[in-house]
């Protein structure tokens, strides 16, 4: 074999390759485009204000799904994300509002962060170090943490400090009356997180290790990667992303309720799968998560605008989940067939 032959030729970017790449890796964006076209027939959907609201509403889901994405790429699942989403703001707010009144609001944020880190660390420790199935471990922690939230704030918490609600609730670019159409800071935060995570996944040794573990864990181990540490880190990051999502949600709603995030794991799962993350691990793009979170929120928004009954909405979301799983499976099979 001569070196000449071995030197890679430049990548060709014909229409075929682009189509294939989109279908294999970025199918969510054409789907989103189709939904927007459908939305054009729904009065009010395409208004600037509504579109901003959809994006704003997608931010908590996007945060949780980014966390799920990390764990899924290693080949595991984390169900407790929806409970971390509630327990982190609950504890953070109780610290500054009841347990240590007069303490600065920053303490609430630090507490939320600490709760996220701790929950993730416990999930990781049990499932990775003890080798217990992560699905079952996080199913249990999901129930435990939900119980903690209901015990602590059965009635919910209202009248939150502005230092806490600012991140999820405030808007910039707009004064006075125009502020109602301003850009929510939450959107900027989520976009920043998406960019950050995309860089981590594609341009750092850690990101490469996460993909490698999902694709072939024994090979990653033999190559000298500290597999356990990387996997635990993913659980820690997942719960932390969920905590950030919780912070944004309480800001958006200006309250915490005991059922916040309850049942959201299904949407998180649908968004991760629709975004192109493989259930078998090793495959997925951060950008897809953003698109999928927008898609799911937009579907909800459209049903809201045309006044669909709650029971029907459940049916629709079930169908979306089913479609997502089927699509993911087809994509995976496509990716396996030779180019």
């Amino acid at each position: 074999m001569s070196l000449q032959e071995a030197v890679p030729e430049a990548r060709r970017w014909g229409a075929r390759e682009i189509t294939r790449n989109i279908v294999e890796n970025h199918l969510i964006w054409p789907l989103l485009a189709v939904l927007v076209v459908i939305g054009a027939f729904v009065p009010g959907f395409l208004s600037q204000r509504n579109l901003i609201n959809v994006a704003w509403g997608a931010t908590p889901l996007a945060c949780m799904t980014l966390g799920m994405f990390l764990v899924m790429v290693t080949g595991a699942l984390d169900l407790s994300i929806e409970s971390s989403f509630a327990v982190a703001p609950t504890l953070g707010l109780l610290v500054v509002m009841q347990w240590l009144p007069d303490s600065p609001w920053i303490l609430a944020l630090l507490t939320m962060l600490a709760v996220g880190l701790t929950v993730g660390f416990i999930n990781g420790l049990i499932s990775v170090k003890l080798g217990v199935n992560a699905f079952l471990v996080t199913l249990a922690t999901m129930l435990i943490l939900r119980g903690v939230v209901i015990y602590l704030i059965p009635e919910g918490v209202y009248g939150l400090p502005t230092g806490v609600t600012y991140w999820g609730g405030a808007r910039i670019f707009g004064e006075g009356e125009a502020n109602r159409n301003g850009l929510p800071i939450a959107i900027i935060i989520v976009v920043a997180l998406v960019v950050l995570l995309a860089v981590v996944m594609n341009s750092t040794a850690f990101g490469k290790s996460v993909y490698a573990i999902g694709n072939n864990e024994p090979a990653a181990f033999v190559a000298g990667i500290n597999v356990q540490r990387v996997k635990i880190t993913c659980f820690v990051l997942a719960a932390t992303f969920a905590a950030v999502g919780g912070l944004l949600q309480v800001g958006r709603l200006d309250s915490v309720t005991a059922t916040m995030g309850d049942g959201d794991i299904m949407n998180v799962f649908a968004a991760a799968t629709l975004g192109g993350t493989s259930l078998n691990g090793g495959r997925g793009h951060v950008s897809g998560i953003l698109g999928a979170a927008l898609l799911i929120t937009a579907i909800d928004n459209i049903m809201n605008l045309i006044g669909v009954e709650p029971s029907i909405r459940r049916i629709v979301f079930g169908a979306v989940l089913l479609a997502a799983i089927c699509l993911a499976s087809i994509q995976e099979r496509l990716a396996r067939t030779n180019a």
């Binding site: 071995a6 030197v7 890679p8 860089v199 490469k208 490698a212 190559a223 030779n338």
Partner: protein
């Protein structure tokens, strides 16, 4: 076989040939297996033993030639695994395939159930199963799940099924004795003798061990380079004579055009022991030296290699790399100590499927070429890959292409390049030429001699004694867990034949 009576052929092959993309694996083999005999097939790795037996079992269609079983004559297209089965020909593979979550009894009768009217005859099946288990010496409750049985037990169960439930007439055993313990092995060999003599069954036994075929088989056929060289009655031959037939006259010795000046001692192994695997292994390695470990399966060489990289934990003994002594407990530790490793099971333990060729090469060095905030230096990454491509090139459409699109040989080139980038003190290569194409082998051998050896010590194993002679400066032979002999490049006995005899335990 009654004395005087003419032996009856149970199975015959006529000019059986198999070619794989131009390579002839089995070359016009005429072989007759008699009813009532245990027939050994022996030869070196790559001689065509497994391919021949796979064709006899109908698993692999021949390129040309005929198979004759009793009244049946057939070839490619007319002889399938189903045909073989109905003619009473059964293969016991190295790794039998069972329904793992089902019980022993269910598996034994899978496809051939005993019925009483429309329902299964449970009592009868239990009785037959218990008797069959007893005959092969497996002490198990027949209701045990197969998943809980050891590989050894699974092989014996497959044999029990062939003998007592399917009543097979010709039983092909593909190296099943390699992993059996000594006591079990004797029991099975005795059982085969009894079944052959009393029930006229024919057994075909593939083996790597000369000593084994010579004591168990009635006749032994020797394969070399796909051809049947001879068939000899084992009562009329000796181990040395068989070894001579197996190796042939072609004495493979190295071309001595390199100076062998070695540097400082980079690895020292002392008193390394693991119960049941290897005992008191001691050797040292110097920079610039290539050390080969040779031995049959179960000789302990594979476990020693894995112990050096922390994949197997030794009970006792020290490993010193570059002056640092440690008990290597994990691959991470071995890496820190200065050892890099190419595993034998490339697809399971080396290739990161689904990731790009570039990621596969750079995976272990990404953290070393990242800046302070963790970002990978892309220019440096490209330089490193290109530098490796100049030494050991591989065919890939681009560096971003999924590694699964590459051929086995090119994947192995990628894996060796990955490890070469680590520039460790010691390279450990566990069968680096396994499962690669003919064109890749010389390139890999050249990389070992010209590139990896520079500045590091290299330890490797190979199934081929010819390759050991080509690659190594020194070869250690392992036999039953002990290092029994050393061959040194340049000495008169540094030939593949001498190494083969030594690892077989045949001294001449």
């Amino acid at each position: 076989m009654g004395a005087g009576s003419e032996p009856r052929a149970a199975f015959r092959t006529e000019k059986l040939t198999k070619r794989f993309s131009g390579q002839t694996a089995v070359d016009e083999v005429d072989l007759t297996i008699n009813a009532g005999e245990v027939h050994g097939i022996i030869g070196r790795n790559g001689a065509g033993k497994t391919v021949l037996v796979s064709m006899m079992a109908g698993v692999l269609p021949p390129t040309s030639g005929t198979l004759v079983v009793g009244e049946f004559r057939g070839g490619a297209g007319s002889y399938s695994p189903g045909t073989a089965h109905s003619l009473g020909v059964t293969i016991i593979p190295q790794e039998p395939e069972f329904a793992l979550e089902m019980s022993v009894i269910d598996n034994l009768f899978l496809g051939v159930p005993l019925k009483k009217g429309p329902v299964l005859a449970h009592a009868k099946m239990r009785e037959v199963a218990a008797a069959a288990l007893d005959a092969v010496g497996v002490q198990l409750d027949p209701r045990t799940k197969i998943a809980l049985c050891t590989l050894e037990e699974q092989q014996l169960l497959a044999l029990a099924k062939a003998l007592f439930i399917e009543d097979a007439k010709v039983i092909l055993l593909d190296e099943i004795t390699a992993s059996l313990s000594a006591a079990r092995k004797q029991q099975i060999l005795d059982l085969m003798r009894v079944e052959a003599e009393q029930n006229g069954r024919a057994f075909v036994l593939i083996s790597h061990r000369i000593s084994e075929v010579i004591t168990v088989c009635d006749r032994v056929s020797v394969l070399r380079d796909g051809k049947r060289i001879a068939t000899v009655p084992s009562a009329e031959t000796t181990a040395a004579e068989l070894a001579q037939l197996i190796v042939g006259d072609d004495v493979h010795a190295p071309v001595l055009d390199e100076t062998m000046e070695f540097g400082d001692r980079v690895l020292q192994v002392e008193g390394l022991s693991k119960a049941g695997a290897f005992e008191d292994v001691a050797f040292s390695l110097r920079r610039g030296e290539v050390l080969g470990l040779a031995g049959l399966d179960g000789s302990g060489k594979d476990e020693v290699v894995n112990a050096l990289y922390g994949l197997v934990r030794a009970d006792r003994g020290n490993v010193t790399v570059n002056g640092k002594t440690a008990r290597v407990k994990s691959p991470g530790m071995a890496r820190k100590l200065g050892v890099a490793y190419v595993p034998k099971k490339r697809e399971e333990l080396a290739v990161v499927h689904g990731m790009s060729v570039q990621d596969n090469i750079l995976l272990p060095v990404y953290s070393a070429i990242s800046n302070a905030v963790g970002l990978i230096n892309r220019r440096r990454a490209k330089e490193l890959v290109e530098a490796r491509m100049a030494v050991l090139p591989f065919k890939a459409r681009s560096l971003g292409v999924n590694i699964d699109y590459l051929s086995g040989g090119n994947r192995q080139r990628v894996v060796i390049n990955r490890m070469a980038l680590l520039r460790p003190d010691v390279f450990v290569l566990h069968e680096p030429t396994r499962g690669v194409d003919i064109a890749s082998k010389p390139d890999i051998i050249a990389t070992v001699r010209n590139d990896l050896r520079a500045g590091s010590g290299v330890i490797l194993t190979s199934e081929s004694e010819d390759e050991l002679v080509d690659m190594c400066d020194r070869v250690l032979v392992f036999f039953r867990g002990k290092c029994v002999r050393e061959f040194i490049r340049g000495a008169a006995d540094f030939t593949s034949g001498a190494i083969y005899n030594s690892l077989q335990g045949v001294e001449q």
